[in-house]
């Protein structure tokens, strides 16, 4: 186990370094001269050169990269060109909103998907299964942001069940936060719930026919116990991997969900920075998402190895 953890940790560090290089290179590939932008339009060539030296842009690339990494490690991501606020501060203020939203959405998706998938597998060949299958294909085919618009139109404004926009921190007022976040989280989680349901159903069907389940049944283990303790547990491995794979979609979906529900989160920061060409913020946003992505993948791998000990045996190259 220790060997597996160390190998995965080491791989993640290498990936983090590579990712930082890609982002560094990407930002240098952007059109426009930052020194010219900082010096202003009426600056003489000498003034531009002075600013360039001041920003360190006249140094060789590897020196610039080294400084970029040093700043990064001390938590300095530069300052926003638009507002003059440190990028780390902007990210610190918006990230919790998105974190709450995605965790809530994921929790909803996994619970609903697991239950629906299990029921569909156990009730194989019935109307229930057909209904759940149809629902899952529809869930896959519906654009979540459209569903969000409809939810605001009919559930929030029409029926007044939920607030149409705004954010309350769960730390300050958990109940009101739940009320505000439920609609966006359910909308964001719908597509993932459909994927989890389909995968759970497929995996449960295979597991329910497996020899060990037949043996358990022959020994007189009850149906409920067979389903939950034996088949579902083995299907969980698949679901954990799947959740790891949905991460990209989850982050992309969060951006548009925040936009629709007016949540002051990371997605809003991302869009604002792109439209105002606020490069330091874009750089910070891309870096943070990439880093979060790598770290969550590491966590998924570790979780995976705890749920299924066979993976540890075959080692980190699996």
């Amino acid at each position: 186990m220790a060997h597996f953890l160390l190998t995965r940790l080491w791989q993640s560090v290498v990936t983090l370094v590579l990712a930082s290089m890609v982002v560094f290179a990407g930002v240098r590939a952007l059109p426009g001269d930052p020194a010219l932008a900082a010096a202003g339009e009426e600056a003489t060539p000498e003034m531009v050169a002075a600013v360039r030296a001041q920003l360190g842009l006249d140094q060789p690339l590897w020196v610039q990269y080294w400084r970029f990494v040093k700043n990064l490690l001390s938590g300095d991501l530069g300052t926003s060109v638009r507002t003059g606020t440190p990028v780390s501060e902007l990210i610190g203020a918006t990230l919790p909103v998105t974190a709450w939203l995605t965790v809530y959405a994921l929790g909803f998706a996994v619970v609903v998907g697991l239950i629906a998938g299990t029921v569909a597998a156990v009730r194989r060949g019935t109307v229930t299964e057909f209904g759940l299958n149809t629902l899952s294909v529809v869930g896959l085919s519906v654009p979540s942001f459209w569903l969000g618009l409809l939810a605001i139109l009919y559930l929030a404004v029409g029926l007044g069940w939920f607030p149409a926009s705004g954010y309350v921190s769960p730390v300050e007022d958990p109940l009101r936060a739940l009320h505000h976040l439920t609609l966006p989280a359910v909308i964001l989680g719908t597509g993932i719930a459909a994927v989890v349901m389909r995968q759970t159903r497929a995996s449960m069907l295979a597991n329910l026919e497996a020899d060990y389940v037949r043996t358990a049944r022959a020994k007189g283990v009850s149906q409920a116990r067979v389903v939950v303790r034996f088949a579902l547990r083995n299907s969980l491995v698949v679901v954990v991997t799947l959740v790891g794979l949905q991460l990209g979609g989850l982050i992309s979906g969060a951006v548009v969900t925040e936009r629709i529900f007016g949540l002051p989160g990371f997605g809003k920061l991302t869009l604002d920075s792109v439209f105002s060409r606020d490069y330091p913020v874009i750089e910070g946003v891309v870096l943070i998402v990439t880093f979060a992505y790598i770290i969550i993948n590491l966590v998924v791998d570790v979780l995976y190895s705890i749920l299924d000990p066979r993976i540890r045996v075959t080692g980190a190259n699996s």
Binding site: V137, S141, W146, L149, A202, L247, S252, V274, V286, N297
Partner: protein, 289 residues
């Protein structure tokens, strides 16, 4: 649904797949919907009542079933039916471009990774790493560097789906590598590239097609999302995503303007998903997926 079909003695495998497909009602529905969607996209310039950008200031926000405007008009009096037809065309354009990109890049890499062991480690690691990277971040980067456009959206969405294609083609290659006809070709000293091109690739085509039907709806939704955010197709080119983002502004006065483009996206994606599911079942009867 996958009741074992008795193999007809003379039935070719193509015939078997077709029979299977026709037995699956949802699959048939998906196939018919797919044909309709494709026809709408291809024939848009001929069947659309108006140009999608033609404004009618005297008739803004007309309800559906108004004379002259079967699905109503938007805030500028543009015909919603015409815009949906052209929007579908743009969606499928982005979809085909992105899927083609994922095949052109993904299939050779998958073939190589499956065939040559020394390559497998590197390619598979990279695939695992990028499999779930948020395409939106990719699109944000591309839009920042090259500007937002239809082709940049297609590139971002295509690249984002390359890893899936690599995985599927690699798995197929691993499976086919042990087939007798491949071993026979090998014993005749055929080169690796030749074996891949003439023996393995043709047999991997069904899996590639099934994967394409999985990627297509994801790309269609992805395009709508990017255009909705202003990172994809740019006005005045009509796109279902742009129609939704426009309609958001007057959603309370004209809910139908937001309902209809979303329904169109859903129908396109349902068609691909249903048909893709049926195709996968038909190609792999007995499989559970």
């Amino acid at each position: 649904m996958s009741a074992p079909v008795v193999e007809a003695d003379l039935g070719s495998s193509r015939g078997r797949v077709l029979r299977h497909l026709l037995h699956n009602k949802l699959g048939v529905a998906g196939g018919v919907a797919l044909l309709l969607v494709a026809a709408a996209a291809l024939l848009a310039p001929w069947i659309a009542p108006y140009s999608p950008t033609q404004v009618h200031f005297e008739t803004p926000l007309q309800q559906p079933r108004t004379v002259g405007f079967p699905l109503g008009t938007d805030d500028l009096g543009r015909d919603i039916l015409s815009r949906i037809l052209y929007g579908t065309r743009a969606s499928l354009q982005v979809g085909i471009l992105a899927v083609a990109l994922s095949i052109v890049v993904g299939a050779p890499l998958g073939l190589a990774a499956g065939y040559w062991r020394w390559l497998d480690g590197i390619v598979s690691r990279l695939t695992d790493l990028t499999l779930a990277f948020p395409f939106l971040i990719l699109a944000v980067g591309l839009a920042a560097i090259r500007g937002a456009s239809l082709s940049n959206a297609a590139i971002a969405l295509g690249i984002a789906h390359v890893p899936q294609m690599i995985r599927v083609v690699r798995a197929e290659t691993l499976r086919l590598k042990g087939a007798e006809y491949v071993l026979a070709a090998r014993s005749l000293d055929a080169s690796g590239v030749r074996i891949l091109a003439t023996h393995i690739l043709p047999n991997a085509v069904p899996s590639i097609i099934v994967q394409a039907t999985v990627i297509m709806p994801a790309v269609v939704i992805g395009e709508a999302l990017l255009s909705f955010l202003g990172l994809g197709i740019q006005p005045p080119t009509p796109s279902l995503g742009i129609m939704l983002s426009d309609a958001q502004q007057y959603i309370f006065r004209a809910p139908y303007a937001a309902l209809l483009p979303g329904l169109a996206i859903m129908v396109i994606c349902l068609a691909f998903n249903l048909f893709g599911d049926a195709l996968r079942d038909a190609l792999d009867p007995g499989g559970h997926r």
